[in-house]
Protein backbone atom coordinates (compact mmCIF):
# COMPACT_ATOMS: atom_id res chain seq x y z
CA UNK A 1 0.00 0.00 0.00
CA UNK A 2 1.10 3.54 -0.71
CA UNK A 3 -0.43 5.86 1.86
CA UNK A 4 -1.05 9.38 0.58
CA UNK A 5 -3.73 10.46 3.01
CA UNK A 6 -1.50 11.95 5.69
CA UNK A 7 -3.77 14.99 5.99
CA UNK A 8 -6.50 12.70 7.31
CA UNK A 9 -4.26 10.89 9.77
CA UNK A 10 -0.56 10.10 9.92
CA UNK A 11 0.48 6.61 8.88
CA UNK A 12 2.39 4.49 9.65
CA UNK A 13 2.66 5.42 13.29
CA UNK A 14 6.28 5.85 14.36
CA UNK A 15 7.82 3.08 16.46
CA UNK A 16 8.42 5.60 19.26
CA UNK A 17 4.71 6.44 19.20
CA UNK A 18 3.65 2.78 19.30
CA UNK A 19 6.08 2.14 22.14
CA UNK A 20 4.77 5.15 24.05
CA UNK A 21 1.24 3.72 23.81
CA UNK A 22 2.40 0.33 25.04
CA UNK A 23 4.33 1.94 27.88
CA UNK A 24 1.31 4.05 28.85
CA UNK A 25 -0.86 0.95 29.04
CA UNK A 26 1.56 -0.27 31.68
CA UNK A 27 1.24 2.85 33.82
CA UNK A 28 -0.91 2.34 36.88
CA UNK A 29 -3.43 4.88 38.02
CA UNK A 30 -5.92 7.47 36.83
CA UNK A 31 -4.28 10.85 36.27
CA UNK A 32 -5.03 13.41 39.00
CA UNK A 33 -6.92 10.80 41.03
CA UNK A 34 -4.70 7.92 42.07
CA UNK A 35 -2.08 8.16 44.78
CA UNK A 36 0.35 6.83 42.18
CA UNK A 37 1.00 9.93 40.10
CA UNK A 38 2.92 8.37 37.20
CA UNK A 39 0.04 8.96 34.78
CA UNK A 40 -0.18 12.60 35.90
CA UNK A 41 3.56 12.99 35.36
CA UNK A 42 3.25 11.66 31.84
CA UNK A 43 0.48 14.13 31.01
CA UNK A 44 2.42 16.97 32.61
CA UNK A 45 5.41 16.18 30.41
CA UNK A 46 3.19 16.21 27.32
CA UNK A 47 1.70 19.56 28.31
CA UNK A 48 5.13 21.12 28.70
CA UNK A 49 6.35 19.76 25.37
CA UNK A 50 3.26 21.07 23.57
CA UNK A 51 3.70 24.50 25.17
CA UNK A 52 7.31 24.49 23.97
CA UNK A 53 6.33 23.45 20.44
CA UNK A 54 3.90 26.31 20.04
CA UNK A 55 5.86 28.92 22.01
CA UNK A 56 3.28 29.20 24.77
CA UNK A 57 4.83 30.40 28.02
CA UNK A 58 2.19 29.00 30.40
CA UNK A 59 1.80 25.20 30.36
CA UNK A 60 -1.42 25.49 32.40
CA UNK A 61 -3.03 26.78 29.25
CA UNK A 62 -2.45 23.60 27.23
CA UNK A 63 -5.77 21.73 27.29
CA UNK A 64 -5.86 18.09 26.22
CA UNK A 65 -9.04 16.44 25.00
CA UNK A 66 -10.56 14.10 22.44
CA UNK A 67 -9.43 16.01 19.37
CA UNK A 68 -9.50 19.14 17.33
CA UNK A 69 -13.26 19.08 16.79
CA UNK A 70 -13.80 19.07 20.55
CA UNK A 71 -11.28 21.89 20.88
CA UNK A 72 -12.95 24.07 18.28
CA UNK A 73 -16.40 23.42 19.77
CA UNK A 74 -15.16 24.17 23.27
CA UNK A 75 -13.49 27.43 22.30
CA UNK A 76 -16.21 28.67 19.97
CA UNK A 77 -19.04 27.89 22.39
CA UNK A 78 -17.05 28.67 25.52
CA UNK A 79 -15.69 32.07 24.55
CA UNK A 80 -18.32 33.68 22.35
CA UNK A 81 -21.18 35.55 23.99
CA UNK A 82 -24.48 37.07 22.97
CA UNK A 83 -24.23 39.81 20.33
CA UNK A 84 -20.66 38.91 19.36
CA UNK A 85 -19.76 39.21 15.70
CA UNK A 86 -17.40 36.59 14.32
CA UNK A 87 -15.41 36.57 11.09
CA UNK A 88 -14.29 33.29 9.59
CA UNK A 89 -13.30 32.13 6.13
CA UNK A 90 -14.40 29.92 3.28
CA UNK A 91 -11.30 27.79 3.86
CA UNK A 92 -12.62 26.40 7.14
CA UNK A 93 -13.46 22.81 7.95
CA UNK A 94 -16.95 21.92 9.17
CA UNK A 95 -15.53 21.59 12.67
CA UNK A 96 -15.28 25.39 12.65
CA UNK A 97 -18.29 26.18 10.48
CA UNK A 98 -20.90 23.98 12.12
CA UNK A 99 -20.41 25.24 15.71
CA UNK A 100 -20.55 28.79 14.33
CA UNK A 101 -23.70 28.07 12.32
CA UNK A 102 -25.21 26.59 15.49
CA UNK A 103 -24.56 29.78 17.48
CA UNK A 104 -25.80 31.90 14.59
CA UNK A 105 -29.00 29.89 14.30
CA UNK A 106 -29.63 30.31 18.02
CA UNK A 107 -29.28 34.06 17.58
CA UNK A 108 -26.23 34.26 19.84
CA UNK A 109 -23.73 35.54 17.28
CA UNK A 110 -23.66 37.15 13.87
CA UNK A 111 -21.30 35.63 11.37
CA UNK A 112 -19.35 36.88 8.37
CA UNK A 113 -17.56 34.48 6.06
CA UNK A 114 -14.90 35.92 3.78
CA UNK A 115 -11.63 35.07 2.05
CA UNK A 116 -8.76 33.91 4.30
CA UNK A 117 -6.62 36.97 3.67
CA UNK A 118 -5.96 40.00 5.85
CA UNK A 119 -7.27 42.58 3.39
CA UNK A 120 -10.58 40.72 3.08
CA UNK A 121 -10.90 40.27 6.83
CA UNK A 122 -10.20 43.97 7.40
CA UNK A 123 -13.18 44.86 5.19
CA UNK A 124 -15.58 43.00 7.47
CA UNK A 125 -14.58 44.23 10.92
CA UNK A 126 -17.55 45.60 12.86
CA UNK A 127 -17.79 47.41 16.19
CA UNK A 128 -18.85 44.18 17.91
CA UNK A 129 -16.40 41.85 16.13
CA UNK A 130 -15.08 39.73 18.98
CA UNK A 131 -13.26 36.97 17.20
CA UNK A 132 -11.60 36.07 13.92
CA UNK A 133 -11.15 32.36 13.18
CA UNK A 134 -8.81 31.22 10.41
CA UNK A 135 -7.36 27.87 9.49
CA UNK A 136 -3.58 27.94 9.31
CA UNK A 137 -3.57 25.71 6.24
CA UNK A 138 -6.42 24.51 4.05
CA UNK A 139 -7.22 20.82 4.38
CA UNK A 140 -8.26 20.84 0.72
CA UNK A 141 -5.45 22.72 -1.03
CA UNK A 142 -2.72 22.91 1.60
CA UNK A 143 -2.43 26.68 1.15
CA UNK A 144 -0.86 28.31 4.20
CA UNK A 145 -2.57 31.49 5.34
CA UNK A 146 -0.75 34.42 6.90
CA UNK A 147 -1.88 33.97 10.49
CA UNK A 148 0.95 36.16 11.80
CA UNK A 149 -0.26 39.25 9.95
CA UNK A 150 -3.92 38.54 10.66
CA UNK A 151 -3.06 37.95 14.33
CA UNK A 152 -1.10 41.20 14.60
CA UNK A 153 -4.00 43.11 13.08
CA UNK A 154 -6.50 41.47 15.44
CA UNK A 155 -4.28 42.35 18.38
CA UNK A 156 -4.22 46.00 17.30
CA UNK A 157 -8.02 45.96 17.07
CA UNK A 158 -8.51 44.13 20.38
CA UNK A 159 -10.15 41.19 18.60
CA UNK A 160 -9.52 37.60 19.65
CA UNK A 161 -7.76 35.48 17.06
CA UNK A 162 -8.32 31.73 16.89
CA UNK A 163 -6.38 29.44 14.57
CA UNK A 164 -7.20 25.91 13.46
CA UNK A 165 -3.80 24.25 13.19
CA UNK A 166 -5.09 20.80 12.24
CA UNK A 167 -3.18 20.79 8.96
CA UNK A 168 -0.14 22.81 9.93
CA UNK A 169 1.04 21.63 13.36
CA UNK A 170 3.94 19.26 12.88
CA UNK A 171 4.33 19.99 9.17
CA UNK A 172 5.54 23.57 9.62
CA UNK A 173 6.58 25.63 12.67
CA UNK A 174 3.61 27.17 14.47
CA UNK A 175 4.03 30.06 16.90
CA UNK A 176 1.37 31.45 19.20
CA UNK A 177 3.02 34.86 19.31
CA UNK A 178 0.10 36.54 17.55
CA UNK A 179 -2.54 33.90 18.24
CA UNK A 180 -4.92 33.84 21.22
CA UNK A 181 -6.33 30.34 20.76
CA UNK A 182 -4.67 27.54 18.82
CA UNK A 183 -6.58 24.30 18.25
CA UNK A 184 -4.70 21.20 17.13
CA UNK A 185 -5.22 17.61 16.18
CA UNK A 186 -2.99 15.04 17.86
CA UNK A 187 -2.92 12.37 15.16
CA UNK A 188 -2.06 14.22 11.96
CA UNK A 189 1.20 16.18 11.73
CA UNK A 190 1.79 15.71 15.44
CA UNK A 191 1.98 11.96 14.79
CA UNK A 192 -0.11 10.64 17.69
CA UNK A 193 -3.10 8.32 17.49
CA UNK A 194 -6.78 9.03 16.87
CA UNK A 195 -8.89 10.36 19.74
CA UNK A 196 -6.40 12.89 21.06
CA UNK A 197 -5.94 16.60 20.47
CA UNK A 198 -6.27 19.83 22.31
CA UNK A 199 -5.87 23.56 22.32
CA UNK A 200 -3.67 26.27 23.73
CA UNK A 201 -5.39 29.37 25.03
CA UNK A 202 -3.86 32.55 26.36
CA UNK A 203 -5.36 34.39 29.32
CA UNK A 204 -8.97 34.21 28.12
CA UNK A 205 -11.88 32.67 30.00
CA UNK A 206 -13.28 29.59 28.27
CA UNK A 207 -16.49 28.11 29.67
CA UNK A 208 -16.29 24.32 29.86
CA UNK A 209 -18.27 22.43 27.26
CA UNK A 210 -18.65 19.51 29.64
CA UNK A 211 -18.49 19.31 33.43
CA UNK A 212 -17.46 16.50 35.72
CA UNK A 213 -14.75 15.10 37.91
CA UNK A 214 -11.32 16.67 37.78
CA UNK A 215 -9.51 15.08 40.70
CA UNK A 216 -9.41 18.42 42.56
CA UNK A 217 -11.76 20.85 44.28
CA UNK A 218 -14.44 18.17 44.66
CA UNK A 219 -16.83 20.13 46.90
CA UNK A 220 -17.02 22.99 44.44
CA UNK A 221 -20.32 22.68 42.56
CA UNK A 222 -18.68 24.36 39.58
CA UNK A 223 -15.68 23.28 37.54
CA UNK A 224 -12.43 24.41 39.22
CA UNK A 225 -11.21 27.85 38.20
CA UNK A 226 -7.65 26.58 37.77
CA UNK A 227 -6.49 25.64 34.28
CA UNK A 228 -6.19 23.08 32.74
CA UNK A 229 -8.56 21.28 35.14
CA UNK A 230 -11.22 23.91 34.37
CA UNK A 231 -11.54 22.39 30.91
CA UNK A 232 -10.57 18.77 31.47
CA UNK A 233 -13.50 16.91 33.03
CA UNK A 234 -13.31 13.13 33.17
CA UNK A 235 -10.54 10.59 32.88
CA UNK A 236 -7.84 11.56 30.42
CA UNK A 237 -6.86 9.41 27.44
CA UNK A 238 -3.46 8.44 28.79
CA UNK A 239 -2.41 6.23 25.86
CA UNK A 240 -3.45 8.94 23.42
CA UNK A 241 -1.58 11.60 25.33
CA UNK A 242 1.50 9.38 25.52
CA UNK A 243 1.35 8.92 21.76
CA UNK A 244 0.93 12.65 21.22
CA UNK A 245 3.82 13.38 23.56
CA UNK A 246 6.08 11.00 21.65
CA UNK A 247 4.99 12.60 18.38
CA UNK A 248 5.55 16.11 19.67
CA UNK A 249 9.00 15.18 20.96
CA UNK A 250 9.81 13.79 17.52
CA UNK A 251 8.62 16.98 15.84
CA UNK A 252 10.57 19.14 18.29
CA UNK A 253 13.80 17.41 17.36
CA UNK A 254 13.12 16.91 13.62
CA UNK A 255 11.05 19.94 12.51
CA UNK A 256 13.60 21.22 10.01
CA UNK A 257 14.12 17.80 8.43
CA UNK A 258 10.35 17.26 8.25
CA UNK A 259 9.82 20.56 6.43
CA UNK A 260 12.62 19.82 3.97
CA UNK A 261 11.59 16.24 3.19
CA UNK A 262 7.93 17.13 2.75
CA UNK A 263 8.77 20.06 0.47
CA UNK A 264 11.04 17.78 -1.57
CA UNK A 265 8.29 15.19 -2.04
CA UNK A 266 5.76 17.88 -2.91
CA UNK A 267 8.16 19.31 -5.49
CA UNK A 268 8.63 15.87 -7.04
CA UNK A 269 4.86 15.39 -7.21
CA UNK A 270 4.41 18.62 -9.12
CA UNK A 271 7.33 17.83 -11.42
CA UNK A 272 5.89 14.42 -12.19
CA UNK A 273 2.22 15.23 -12.50
CA UNK A 274 2.24 16.70 -15.96
CA UNK A 275 -0.30 16.26 -18.70
CA UNK A 276 -4.05 16.26 -18.38
CA UNK A 277 -4.32 17.14 -14.70
CA UNK A 278 -6.06 20.14 -13.18
CA UNK A 279 -4.48 21.51 -10.00
CA UNK A 280 -6.16 23.43 -7.19
CA UNK A 281 -2.96 23.73 -5.16
CA UNK A 282 0.57 24.93 -5.68
CA UNK A 283 4.07 24.06 -4.53
CA UNK A 284 4.89 27.27 -2.74
CA UNK A 285 3.38 28.35 0.57
CA UNK A 286 1.74 24.99 1.13
CA UNK A 287 1.61 22.11 3.55
CA UNK A 288 2.29 18.79 1.77
CA UNK A 289 -0.99 18.48 -0.13
CA UNK A 290 -1.65 18.23 -3.84
CA UNK A 291 -5.28 18.85 -4.80
CA UNK A 292 -6.13 17.75 -8.32
CA UNK A 293 -8.68 16.39 -10.71
CA UNK A 294 -8.48 14.56 -13.97
CA UNK A 295 -10.83 16.53 -16.22
CA UNK A 296 -14.11 14.76 -16.85
CA UNK A 297 -13.55 12.16 -14.15
CA UNK A 298 -15.33 12.10 -10.82
CA UNK A 299 -12.88 12.43 -7.91
CA UNK A 300 -14.50 9.39 -6.27
CA UNK A 301 -13.85 7.31 -9.40
CA UNK A 302 -10.18 8.37 -9.51
CA UNK A 303 -9.65 7.88 -5.79
CA UNK A 304 -11.29 4.47 -5.87
CA UNK A 305 -9.27 3.40 -8.91
CA UNK A 306 -6.07 4.53 -7.21
CA UNK A 307 -7.02 2.42 -4.22
CA UNK A 308 -8.25 -0.85 -5.71
CA UNK A 309 -6.05 -1.00 -8.82
CA UNK A 310 -2.84 0.53 -7.48
CA UNK A 311 -3.16 0.29 -3.69
CA UNK A 312 -2.74 4.05 -3.30
CA UNK A 313 -4.75 5.61 -0.48
CA UNK A 314 -6.00 9.16 -1.11
CA UNK A 315 -9.05 11.18 -0.21
CA UNK A 316 -11.71 12.42 -2.59
CA UNK A 317 -14.98 14.32 -2.30
CA UNK A 318 -15.54 17.47 -0.27
CA UNK A 319 -13.12 16.94 2.65
CA UNK A 320 -15.69 18.40 5.11
CA UNK A 321 -14.84 21.82 3.69
CA UNK A 322 -17.97 22.78 1.73
CA UNK A 323 -17.21 26.47 1.28
CA UNK A 324 -13.74 25.85 -0.12
CA UNK A 325 -15.26 23.54 -2.71
CA UNK A 326 -17.88 26.15 -3.57
CA UNK A 327 -15.06 28.66 -3.96
CA UNK A 328 -13.16 26.26 -6.23
CA UNK A 329 -16.40 25.26 -8.03
CA UNK A 330 -15.75 21.60 -7.29
CA UNK A 331 -18.93 20.77 -5.37
CA UNK A 332 -19.97 18.17 -7.93
CA UNK A 333 -16.67 16.66 -9.03
CA UNK A 334 -14.96 16.89 -5.66
CA UNK A 335 -11.16 16.86 -5.54
CA UNK A 336 -8.58 14.10 -5.30
CA UNK A 337 -6.26 15.00 -2.45
CA UNK A 338 -2.78 13.52 -2.27
CA UNK A 339 -1.22 14.31 1.07
CA UNK A 340 2.28 13.20 1.91
CA UNK A 341 4.51 13.34 4.95
CA UNK A 342 8.18 12.89 5.72
CA UNK A 343 7.43 9.19 6.06
CA UNK A 344 6.62 8.85 2.37
CA UNK A 345 9.34 8.09 -0.14
CA UNK A 346 10.34 9.18 -3.63
CA UNK A 347 9.20 5.71 -4.76
CA UNK A 348 5.69 6.49 -3.44
CA UNK A 349 5.71 9.71 -5.44
CA UNK A 350 6.93 8.02 -8.64
CA UNK A 351 4.28 5.31 -8.27
CA UNK A 352 1.36 7.71 -7.86
CA UNK A 353 2.62 9.87 -10.72
CA UNK A 354 2.61 6.84 -13.05
CA UNK A 355 -0.80 5.73 -11.79
CA UNK A 356 -2.40 9.13 -12.37
CA UNK A 357 -0.79 9.31 -15.79
CA UNK A 358 -2.34 5.95 -16.70
CA UNK A 359 -5.77 6.93 -15.40
CA UNK A 360 -5.52 10.24 -17.21
CA UNK A 361 -4.64 8.51 -20.51
CA UNK A 362 -7.44 5.97 -20.10
CA UNK A 363 -10.24 7.73 -21.92
Amino acid sequence: MVYLDQAATSFPKLDVVKQAVMDALGVAGNANRSSNMDSSRLIFAARRNIAQLFGLSDFHRVILNGGNTESLNTCIKGILKENDHVITTYAEHNSVLRPLYELEEKGIITLTICAPYLEDIKCHIQKNTRMVIVTHSSNVTGEIFDVDSIGKYCKECGILFMVDAAQSAGHIPVSMENIDVLCFSGHKGLLGIGGIGGFCVKDIEVKPLISGGTGIDSFNPQMPEAYPEHLEAGTQNLAGIAALNAGVQYVLSHQKAIVEKEHFLLQKLYEGLTGDVEFYSSLENSTPIVALNIPGKDSAYVSDLLNYKYGIVTRCGAHCAPLMHKHLKTEEQGIVRLSVSFQNTIEDVDFVVRAIQEISNDH
Partner: protein, 73 residues
Protein backbone atom coordinates in the same frame (compact mmCIF):
# COMPACT_ATOMS: atom_id res chain seq x y z
CA UNK B 1 2.21 4.95 63.58
CA UNK B 2 3.41 8.19 65.17
CA UNK B 3 2.53 11.36 63.36
CA UNK B 4 5.13 14.01 62.83
CA UNK B 5 4.97 17.69 61.99
CA UNK B 6 5.40 18.34 58.26
CA UNK B 7 5.05 21.27 55.95
CA UNK B 8 2.29 21.05 53.34
CA UNK B 9 2.19 23.19 50.21
CA UNK B 10 -1.16 23.30 48.43
CA UNK B 11 -1.94 24.26 44.86
CA UNK B 12 -4.95 25.26 42.78
CA UNK B 13 -3.90 22.99 39.92
CA UNK B 14 -2.27 19.59 40.03
CA UNK B 15 0.04 20.83 37.29
CA UNK B 16 1.74 23.02 39.88
CA UNK B 17 2.51 20.25 42.32
CA UNK B 18 3.93 18.30 39.38
CA UNK B 19 5.92 21.39 38.46
CA UNK B 20 7.34 21.64 41.98
CA UNK B 21 8.10 17.94 42.08
CA UNK B 22 10.17 18.33 38.93
CA UNK B 23 12.22 21.07 40.61
CA UNK B 24 13.04 19.69 44.05
CA UNK B 25 13.77 16.45 45.84
CA UNK B 26 13.14 18.05 49.23
CA UNK B 27 9.80 16.30 49.79
CA UNK B 28 7.18 14.43 47.81
CA UNK B 29 3.66 14.55 46.47
CA UNK B 30 0.90 13.19 48.66
CA UNK B 31 -2.90 13.29 48.59
CA UNK B 32 -4.12 16.46 50.34
CA UNK B 33 -4.71 15.56 54.03
CA UNK B 34 -8.31 16.22 55.06
CA UNK B 35 -7.13 18.44 57.91
CA UNK B 36 -5.71 20.81 55.26
CA UNK B 37 -8.51 20.77 52.74
CA UNK B 38 -11.56 18.58 52.39
CA UNK B 39 -12.00 16.96 49.01
CA UNK B 40 -9.29 15.49 46.90
CA UNK B 41 -6.20 16.45 44.98
CA UNK B 42 -2.48 16.33 45.57
CA UNK B 43 -0.13 18.52 47.56
CA UNK B 44 3.58 18.61 48.34
CA UNK B 45 4.84 17.44 51.72
CA UNK B 46 8.25 18.24 53.12
CA UNK B 47 9.96 17.62 56.44
CA UNK B 48 11.82 20.86 55.87
CA UNK B 49 9.68 23.22 57.96
CA UNK B 50 11.39 26.47 56.97
CA UNK B 51 8.38 28.25 55.50
CA UNK B 52 10.27 31.38 54.43
CA UNK B 53 12.85 29.32 52.58
CA UNK B 54 10.06 27.52 50.73
CA UNK B 55 8.33 30.78 49.78
CA UNK B 56 11.56 32.12 48.36
CA UNK B 57 12.22 28.89 46.47
CA UNK B 58 8.71 28.77 45.01
CA UNK B 59 9.01 32.37 43.88
CA UNK B 60 12.44 31.84 42.35
CA UNK B 61 11.24 28.76 40.50
CA UNK B 62 8.00 30.40 39.31
CA UNK B 63 5.89 27.71 40.92
CA UNK B 64 2.30 28.83 41.57
CA UNK B 65 1.05 27.72 44.98
CA UNK B 66 -2.01 28.30 47.11
CA UNK B 67 -0.93 27.96 50.72
CA UNK B 68 1.76 26.65 53.04
CA UNK B 69 0.74 25.08 56.34
CA UNK B 70 2.23 22.90 59.05
CA UNK B 71 0.31 19.81 60.08
CA UNK B 72 0.86 16.55 61.90
CA UNK B 73 0.78 13.82 59.31
Amino acid sequence: MNKEEVLIITFKSIQDVLDLESKTKNGRMIPVPSCVKAGCGMCFMSKDLDEEKWKLFLEEQNVLYEDIVRVNF
